[in-house]
């Protein structure tokens, strides 16, 4: 059992916390393109490289498409890579996201969530990364900048685990986290470097049946991303599914290992429950909103209301069984989505939760709130409104309005 090591407290913004974690994680190649509100990550990293604090090749590409592609191939050569983006930048990466997971290349990326055009908006919502939920990337949504720092370090270990080999993205809320200062506990360089280690390359069987390292290596040539016709493609996709399902165990394991050296835990690494044990009513959400919900839950509890919160930390892989277990006896649930699936009933998290609860014999009432699109503020007053709605639902024993746009001017 490792012991909690000495840590230093630094005042860092979310972007800076990410850059700091990357600096310590022994990354070999970084390719990136600036986009508000992610830009500071790229700038801090260039400073670190320039000052000699990082032994990394850093390239400013001409677009995000080139950035993710350069990371893809660098990682395919067996080195550790990192990139970062958000909004239109992430959308521009879309086709390569699938190539990265399909080639089983463990790139790590930080996404600073920002709305998509049009209309043009630079503020936070989760549309950009929700769009990519099916790309077979591990998706971790953080609540605060401390968790952003911790999760980046964990992400390398998770993605590179030889049983997983999938890319991972860590999401933090644009401006709300990326640009606000927080006191962050940072581990020493040595401790982080020991934790992330060097990238492990598993052996695979090549075309001659010989065991060779799974990387593009002229000594032991293999091909990545060749044509796969209908006779193989399906099996390959199934393997990806198995790997991402398996990653729930690795995420928990790495989270535990990290807790041992840092003393910090985020639930079980997949979900975080807050006063759920005896809760009658609960909110489910992701990202920084969870912090505000916790405050509201405390105040409601002080008044005797049995309110709770379930924060989903890893949206992919979706922790189905953990969610079912955590919701236990909750009678009415409000799912908060900071994005919307247009033309469907509600947002993506709502879809997922309602789908998950189908297996439960006694299903709770469940409603959906679309909120905060394009950076619309999410004050506690609106959260009280949600909990009041839930109490009303329990009273009248039905959900009148399953999907609502919260705080909408009508």
């Amino acid at each position: 059992m490792a012991t909690i090591t000495k840590q230093e407290m630094l005042a860092l913004s979310g972007d800076e916390a990410i850059a700091y974690a990357v600096k310590q994680s022994d990354v070999d190649v970084i390719a990136a393109y600036p986009i508000t509100p992610q830009t500071i990550i790229v700038e801090r990293i260039s400073d670190y490289v320039n000052n000699g604090e990082m032994d990394t090749e850093f390239v400013c590409t001409e677009s995000e498409h080139s950035a993710i592609t350069a990371c893809l191939t660098a990682a395919a050569m067996g080195v550790r890579t990192f990139t970062s983006s958000g909004s239109a930048g992430l959308a521009l990466m879309h086709e390569i996201l699938y190539v990265t997971s399909g080639c089983r290349v463990p790139v790590v990326m930080a996404i600073v969530n920002r709305a998509l055009s049009a209309p043009l908006n630079i503020h936070c919502d989760h549309t950009d990364s929700m769009v990519e939920r099916d790309a077979c990337w591990i998706q971790i949504y953080v609540e605060n900048s401390q968790e952003a720092y911790d999760s980046i370090i964990q992400a390398f270990q998770i993605a590179e685990d030889p049983s997983i080999l999938l890319p991972a993205m860590v999401m933090l809320d644009g401006f709300i986290l990326s640009h606000t200062l927080e006191n962050i506990c940072v581990l020493s360089n040595e401790v982080v470097q020991k934790f992330v280690g060097t990238r492990q390359i598993p052996l695979v069987r090549n075309h001659e049946g010989k065991l060779v390292p799974f990387k593009l290596d002229p000594e032991n040539p293999i091909t990545m991303g060749p044509v796969s016709l209908p006779n193989f493609y399906l099996e390959q996709k199934r393997q990806q599914e198995e790997a991402i399902q398996e990653s729930t165990q690795i995420i928990k394991k790495v989270h535990n290992k990290f807790a041992e050296i840092s003393g910090r835990r985020y639930g079980n690494g997949l979900i975080e429950s807050y006063h759920l044990e005896d809760a009658d009513i609960a909110i489910i959400c992701i990202g920084s909103t969870a912090g505000t919900v916790k405050t509201v839950v405390d105040q409601l509890r002080a008044r005797g209301t049995k309110a709770g919160l379930l924060r989903i930390r890893t949206y992919r892989p979706f922790p189905t069984q953990d969610v079912i277990k955590a919701l236990g006896n909750v009678k009415a649930i409000a799912v908060m989505d900071r994005s919307h699936s247009f033309g469907s009933q509600g947002g993506p998290i709502f879809h997922e939760i309602r789908h998950t609860l189908y297996e439960v014999p006694e299903r709770p009432y469940i409603t959906n709130y679309i909120y905060g699109l394009g950076g619309r503020d999410m004050p506690p007053s609106l959260l009280y409104e949600i909990y009041e709605d839930l109490e009303k639902i329990l009273k009248i024993k039905r959900v009148e309005n399953p999907v609502r746009f919260l705080g909408l001017r009508e």
């Binding site: 393109y33 600036p34 986009i35 508000t36 830009t39 790229v42 700038e43 260039s46 400073d47 320039n50 400013c60 001409e62 677009s63 239109a88 055009s117 043009l120």
Partner: protein
């Protein structure tokens, strides 16, 4: 008669005081007035960047699109209604970096669009990173030790890609720039106006003074604007002397000229109710 007053909008530009975009904005408005274009017949498309905010502050039709994409969106509009005067505006990062593919294809297509690139050799809006036209060695926030790549040479690229109107202006030479835009708008085909646009906040190297010491006007030399080889030669000059003005001009059929559907009337004016497709159906079905 259109006046500058007609082109006023409610908002005012929020560029930094002294930004090289102000004179470009004035020049563009003056060019619209000089060519007497009715505001409702003009559409200004832009990408994303400081200069791409331009359509907000000129009272014509406008479309603030996606980073790097003003040319494809402008192309769509121009094909739908080739009676419109279509102008595209964007930064060097926008047009010569993330959107460079569109730049090359719009030129080779010779579509009738006037493209103004506000070339400040840096990313302004994202607060000062290297751009594709940054000088080699230029230190920015993303390249503290200096850029190691060679810059894009947009004029040389335009000459070799078949652009039919190739020019360069300078923010400090507003009248000269206005003339280049007027001629570009009148030109039948793709017109490039690359503008040396000092970014007073993030580019402390390529300043008004730096350019003023170097620029000279091609019109004041014996440069022959119909000589492609001479244009190429001139395009390579970007050191102690920097030519501005018209590098090259040629008359060639435009993309629209090659499309029989829109040669006489624009697509949006086609009356589909008058078209009898029965003969075609008989032939193919």
């Amino acid at each position: 008669m259109v006046t500058l007053n007609d082109l006023k909008t409610i908002g005012q530009p929020n560029w930094c005081p002294g930004c090289g975009n102000f004179p470009i904005w004035h020049a563009l408005k003056s060019a619209i007035v000089e060519t007497n274009l009715e505001p409702h017949n003009v559409v200004i498309f832009s990408g994303i960047g400081c200069s791409s905010k331009m359509p907000h502050w000129i009272n014509t039709y406008g479309f603030h699109s996606i980073h790097g994409r003003p040319l494809p969106v402008a192309t769509g509009a121009r094909l739908a209604n080739n009676n419109l005067t279509v102008i595209a505006v964007g930064g060097d990062g926008d047009g010569y970096g993330i959107g460079i593919g569109h730049f090359i294809h719009a030129m080779r297509r010779n579509i009738n669009i006037t493209y103004i690139v506000t070339n400040n050799q840096v990313y302004g809006l994202t607060t000062g990173q290297t751009s594709p036209t940054s000088d080699k060695g230029f230190a920015t926030k993303s390249t503290p030790t200096g850029v190691i790549e060679m810059p894009i040479n947009p004029i040389a690229l335009a000459v070799t890609t078949g652009s039919t109107y190739i020019s360069r202006g300078f923010s400090k030479e507003m009248k000269h720039l206005t003339k280049l835009i007027v001629e570009g708008v009148k030109h039948e085909g793709f017109a490039l106006i690359d503008v040396l646009q000092p970014c007073v906040t993030f580019n402390r190297k390529n300043t008004y003074e730096w350019f003023s010491e170097r620029v000279y006007k091609l019109e004041e030399t014996d440069h022959d604007v119909t000589d492609k080889q001479a244009a190429f030669q001139k395009s390579l000059e970007f050191n102690n002397r920097i030519p501005i003005g018209l590098f090259y001009k040629e008359t060639k059929p435009t993309y629209e000229d090659e499309l029989p559907q829109i040669k006489d009337i624009p697509l949006i004016k086609h009356r589909i109710e008058d078209i009898d497709i029965r003969a075609l159906m008989d032939e193919f079905v």
